[in-house]
Point group: C2
Chain length 473, copies 2
């Protein structure tokens, strides 16, 4: 499995990874056959099987402590601990997940999603990249690190937390962190669930957006009204809700909610220049979802990367009201339902944003319309890594060795449990991952690029050494 793109580093770690490549593919393929779909109760037994598979693999690797946690409401999570020989070495917690997104042939897969296959450089199957591929990458990296150093324990104390509910919203992660706070205590957190902007340009994710939900239900009459008898003389809940949607942005695509941008720090000229220097192949990016978006669009004055990484959004996820069958039905619909999510950046706090959204809606409820407004759960705070921290510097150095190029800071537009982790465990957090935009995570025909997973494993192997050296130097 030699990459035609990434140069070989020639390090001992690289050789140790390469010697284990075939076994790695076989092992990961076995794991991918377990359809650990956390969103589907019919697959919860598979989530348990997946956790047990991972625990058995870790025990075979020699991790001294391996536990499957099922003492909370969460689906089984796997915890492991391998202390360093040196008791003063830092403790690093690696976070990832072993559950996967739903996948069904009928969704448009070109092969059975849980029958993984190697095609050229790619390993194809649900979870190949997100996130089983990346957890397997970490395990391989630890093996290569131990083989390269000849030691019986890693250079830093390693902890693993691989949860089973990330793809269904990490609903019980806070409970898990509280119940097992002592076991999870650490100095630094590495999250393995992100990627690079493209294969030729190694980047490291240094920020994720936060998230707040909004659901608005407008109700007029108790049942649909005849549009001949009432049309034009009573409020139409669908029209009114469409007007609310239109009101959320001004003509330049700025979000019109008063106070919404108060805690948004605009990126510095330096950051903007760095992102502008990253390659951006718009046609490839648009096609990256395998879904064929047709054009970029969004807030005026910002690039696509900036729109995704540094700017908040007000996105409609669904709007439904009235007749949906064939032909026409002459009604004034009785109700309409709007579901939105707002992505947050920088210091935007879900707890501060929610009342702003609620007030924005409340200020616009038309006469004759009853409105139910809900902003759901606690939301997800944004997370920005400290680019000057030793942890980010070590990751960039480790990936730089393995990938043979400078690793540039980037961000991602999604939202994960990172802010929760860093707050609950009171430790700095950074990302190490080699997913590509074309990996089709969450979509049909997910794949991972195997040479990149191997470089990622090598990066992991270098990272433990570099982190230990940085402390002792």
């Amino acid at each position: 499995m030699t990459s035609t793109v990434e140069p070989l580093s020639g390090t001992v770690e690289q050789a140790e990874v390469a010697s284990r490549a075939d076994a790695f593919v076989a092992e990961l393929s076995e794991w991918l056959r377990i359809p650990s779909i956390s969103a589907d109760p019919g697959h919860h037994a598979d989530v348990t099987r997946s956790a047990e598979w991972l625990a058995a693999t870790l025990r075979r690797d020699g991790w001294p402590t391996v536990e499957v946690w099922s003492d909370t409401a969460a689906l089984p999570a796997v915890y492991a601990h391998w202390p360093a020989a040196d008791p003063t070495a830092p403790t690093v917690l690696v976070y990832g997940h072993h559950d996967v997104q739903p996948a069904d042939l009928a969704d448009g897969w070109s092969f059975a999603p849980f029958e993984p296959q190697v095609v050229g450089e790619e390993l194809r199957g649900r979870g190949a990249s997100d996130d089983k591929g990346h957890i397997a990458m970490v395990l391989l990296g630890v093996r290569a690190h131990l083989a390269a150093t000849g030691a019986t324990a890693p250079a830093v104390s390693l902890k693993l937390l691989v949860e089973g509910e990330e793809e269904s919203g990490s609903a019980h992660l806070a409970e898990l962190l509280t119940a097992h706070g002592d076991a999870l205590a650490c100095d630094e957190i590495v999250v393995t669930d992100t990627g690079m902007v493209d294969r030729e340009t190694p980047t490291v994710c240094c920020g994720m957006r936060g998230l707040v939900d909004l659901e608005v239900v407008y109700r007029g009459a108790a049942v649909d009204l005849h549009s001949g008898q009432f049309g034009g003389a009573v409020p139409n809940p669908v029209t009114e809700l469409a007007r609310l949607v239109a009101a959320f942005h001004d003509d330049a695509g700025h979000i019109a909610v008063p106070g919404f941008y108060d805690d948004v720090r605009e990126p510095t000229a330096e950051e903007r220049a760095a992102w502008a220097a990253l390659p951006f192949d718009e046609p490839a990016w648009l096609a990256g979802s395998a879904a064929g978006a047709m054009a970029t669009a969004g807030e005026a004055g910002w690039s696509t990367y900036e729109r995704l990484w540094a700017r908040p959004t007000a996105e409609v996820n669904g709007l439904h009201g009235g007749y949906a069958g064939p032909g026409h039905k002459t009604i004034v619909p009785h109700s309409a339902t709007l579901k939105m999510t707002f992505r947050l950046v920088d210091a935007q706090d879900p707890a501060r944003i929610k009342p702003l959204l609620e007030r924005f809606v409340a200020d616009r409820i038309p006469a004759g319309i009853d409105a139910d407004v809900s902003t759901g759960g606690p939301g997800v705070p944004p997370l920005i890594c400290d680019l000057d921290s030793p942890l980010v510097a070590s990751i960039r150095e480790a990936m730089g060795i393995a990938l043979g190029a400078e690793v540039l800071p980037a961000r991602e537009g999604g939202s994960g449990p990172e802010a929760l982790l860093t707050t609950a465990l009171d430790a700095p957090l950074a990302f190490l991952g080699v997913m590509l935009p074309a990996d089709r995570i969450h979509a049909p025909d997910e794949r991972a690029v195997l040479p990149l997973l191997l470089r990622g494993a090598e990066s992991v192997a270098h990272l433990w050494r570099l982190l230990a050296e940085r402390v002792t130097s």
Copy 2:
């Protein structure tokens, strides 16, 4: 069955109607037990049974020509002809329908919709008012007319066309009118499918709105996109379609489509004053649908009656896109579908309005969105009666005698096949009906007010006499 509201006219016709009231209720109840739902293929046999029931009743009444027409693609229509003794008497065609709206207990009926019952002054059941009750009213009126005059034939030549597809859009009426143009030839048309603004204020409908459909489908990517990976940087078809909906009206509720109002004649000060003098009980009107609309709304500067009768509308019947399940799904939806109907007034011509709507949509299609735009079938032209015509004058006089009060001109906001009838048969058209806004036609718990149906039958009995006198005078 003595009304507590309407005074008795003391005419022979009134007495002849009254003497037949009990038989009328029994007969109509029998008809209402046939669920002649034209929109439901599972009930098409019932539509045929309903036509046969009506034909048999007409034959018992002595109509010389009675036919059930099933020679076109239309569901069975009933035709009858009773020539006047005087060959120079005018021929009047009465149009109505014997099919009914769908009705199911599960829709919120408080009784079985096809098991009619008399409660106080009301006959309750699907079709009691719209339109079987009104056709039965015409039959009773003809009997009373003959009894009152002692003649063996009516004073004018009468024709009846009772179609079986009105509630599913009169899809084959044009075909029927072409196939049977000779049989249907007439001097005047009376439509029996309208009502009065309220029980205390006799009015006659003198206008109906027209109708044009619009369906717009917006498509972005081929499948839903992850809103973290793409949100804020690609167009959202649901948001864009909501913006299109919002663009159809200005802040005052005027329709913003260029040229849309070109053929709208504003009502005269005299018309506006007459309508303003009509009673309008807003709470009763809002509750009239049994649906409890909560407020009036609409175009600034116009009353509710004017909004319904004299102003066109742009009404959203349905808007659907994206996620509709429980909780949230963080997607940029791949498509959205909008269904609208536009009610037209005065000289607005569907054939001229359609390209205006298509251009309005085409001018606003955002980059990155594919749009399908359709304006459906030929549409329905509006119809305004000539208030100075002998037909309208005779109807007002006939109803005035029966109801004991001046009959004021009003309109309705719905759309029917009137423009088609008057054009195809080249004859003036007017309305005679006693439905009330609270009759809940098209809604659960439809009912008719029996004393009003009897006054309606008496009006019919007077009308044939008045029309004959007007010609011979």
